[in-house]
Symmetry: C2
Subunit: 379 residues, 2 copies
């Protein structure tokens, strides 16, 4: 079994967009790729069959914080890792738990050693250190594991962000060491991605990129964006990071975003994305479609018997009508959550697939400009 | 398009069980058949794709009371009926709303004319009369529609049950007249089934069977059972009804029941079943399997990585493990509801399919005796 490989297959002549192919021991990701979020080992409201056959996901995420608390490491280890527990035989990426510890946990105390926090489930106290988080991710068994970082909120003062970034760097060193001194646990290779931090400060981001570049990791991530900063600032920082990060390695922008965010960031050189938006917004009756955004709760869809979306080559999205989905939402049927989630994820995967096709075809820029206008329309 | 047809294909030499084939304008039901309940036009937590491909349902139920309140008749009519609204192109049966009016509605007032009740959603007042219920079912467009009846609770005194049964008979006359003076609405044939009532009183049941026999309907239903009476009493009344109802017509036992109830009643001559148990109990972590009943919430399954059920020829039920499903239940994931519901329904459909196979093979009785013991075991 082998370390993650990345092969570039095409570049957009006008933008920094590129198409490539990431290979892990669980398969190939054609990039740009979108990764559905499977918080506790299940992408909310979808079966693994729907993820494969309808959404056509090549990789899903698991959240270290959630999986550590539930089902816990013993269940995961005795299963032989998350792939074996949930039956997902394609690639898996796990986050480091950092973001969740800061956003979900109640009281938490940060120190050089790590973060002491209380479980949002039962209030029990736990320490996440860089070493512990590596050990946990070894037990979960993702193909790609993330370094433990502090994600600073927006806005944060320069001094705080700088201090936090340096802590993230020291934690990265400890993650790196621990990760590489431990063997793979389940017979396939896991791969560690460092995370760039530095808030909205371009010079800090540059320093952070340089710091992680020294590791020569097989892939790199950009963290700490899409946390409330203006859209343009996100693009500016994303661009600065992409320019500073290794061309020959996949770049993963964490937690972003809307369909138009994703297209813009592909144009800046990002290869991998994840976001809860398609599933979370779907569960709140918001649909992303190839013609724009739909609030399916709205009375205007009551008698609209047209398919949810016929423009994305999906039998599933063409099967159910807007009037039916609206009815299910009003009646609070579980099926409403499933249909909206399957559709939104199918749309996201279609979108990055189309972006890839247009990059390879050489007409990405014009297509992207057009799409960004269409997709953000409110229908 | 043609009225419902029933062809008998085989009889059990020891019991009254039979195998047959019901044909509606939307397809064939191989009997004995189990009909998943799709209350508001969705079988809870399942997609129509899962119902077809995993569960292999040949017909689903819709509830007149629920559909009348939500989405309402205008949405149904402008869609061209429920088949068009929910995309289910196989057969549909709708109940008459009687049972729901009595069990769900708050204040209600029963008279010769019908039942005045208040919606459980917004408290609005509505009248269900036999004529109105026929009109509503015409608008929903089920292949099989049910007569409007009063379902007496258990226990009820003889005098009350007798009076109620006679009202149900007068309502049946009005249903029959209204139904047959109105043309089919959507280009295919709808079929009206009368319902036998009479509580647990054998002589009343006999009278009721005789009364409805006079209609010469294409199929007949047994209502008012599985409402709290002892199991043996249910079997006795079911047997009396089956013996009194036309041999050449399908017999539908409403709202029954556990897997062993279903096998016993097949042995008494029942051809069609519906029940919310597989979905409702599934949503409460109870699994019916080919080896017995599982409470998947139980700690004993925490490290059990064996498939939910490998004995029913289902890829879906063999895909997910007990440990994974238990984890999803504990984490309150929506996927837990889906997996349990798909599995339980797949099991129910497998069970009636096996019953059919054994009837045709001539060894139903011995198989049934064995199964009834295995299936009710608590694992």
């Amino acid at each position: 079994m082998a370390s993650l490989e990345f092969r570039l297959e095409g570049h957009c002549p006008q933008t920094a967009a590129r198409a490539g192919r990431v290979t892990t021991d669980h398969g190939v990701l054609e990039t740009p790729v979108f990764m559905p979020v499977g918080t506790v080992g299940s992408v909310k409201a979808l079966t693994q069959q729907q993820l494969k056959e309808d959404v056509k996901a090549q990789i899903i995420l698991g959240n270290t914080y959630h999986l550590y608390l539930r089902p816990g490491l013993e269940v995961l280890e005795r299963a032989g890792g998350l792939h074996r527990l949930n039956g997902w035989d394609r690639s898996i990426l796990t986050d480091s738990g950092g973001y969740q510890v800061f956003s979900l946990a109640g009281t938490r105390k940060i120190s050089e050693e790590g973060v002491m926090f209380q479980s949002h489930i039962d209030g029990s106290r736990h320490l996440f250190s860089p070493e512990k988080v590596m050990d946990i991710q070894r037990s979960i068994g993702g193909d790609i594991v993330m370094a433990f970082d502090e994600c600073t909120p927006y806005p944060s003062e320069y001094g705080y962000v700088e201090k936090s970034m340096r802590l993230t760097h020291r934690w990265l060193d400890r993650c790196w060491e621990r990760f590489h001194e431990m063997p793979d646990k389940y017979g396939y290779t896991q791969n560690l991605f460092p995370i760039v931090q530095g808030g909205v400060y371009a010079d800090l981001r540059k320093q952070s990129c340089e710091y992680i570049a020294a590791k020569g990791a097989v892939g790199n991530a950009i963290g700490g964006l899409s946390v409330g900063e203006p859209e343009q600032q996100m693009y500016d920082i994303c661009q600065a990071c992409c320019e500073a990060l290794a061309e020959a390695r996949p770049r993963y922008l964490m937690g972003v975003g809307t369909p138009w965010n994703i297209l813009e960031c592909i144009g800046l050189g990002v290869d991998m994305f994840d976001c809860v938006m398609p599933t979370r917004n779907g569960r709140n009756a918001m649909l992303f479609t190839s013609r724009g955004v739909i609030n399916i709760d709205n009375k205007k869809w009551e008698f609209d018997y047209s398919p949810i979306d016929e423009g994305i080559g999906s039998n599933f999205s063409a099967y159910y009508t807007k009037a039916y989905l609206r009815h299910l939402v009003k009646a609070k049927e579980i099926l409403a959550l499933t249909i909206a989630s399957v559709h939104n994820l199918t749309f996201y995967l279609w979108l990055v697939g189309e972006a890839r096709r247009h990059i390879l075809q050489g007409d990405f820029e014009g297509w992207k400009r057009e799409q960004c206008e269409v997709l953000r329309q409110r229908l």
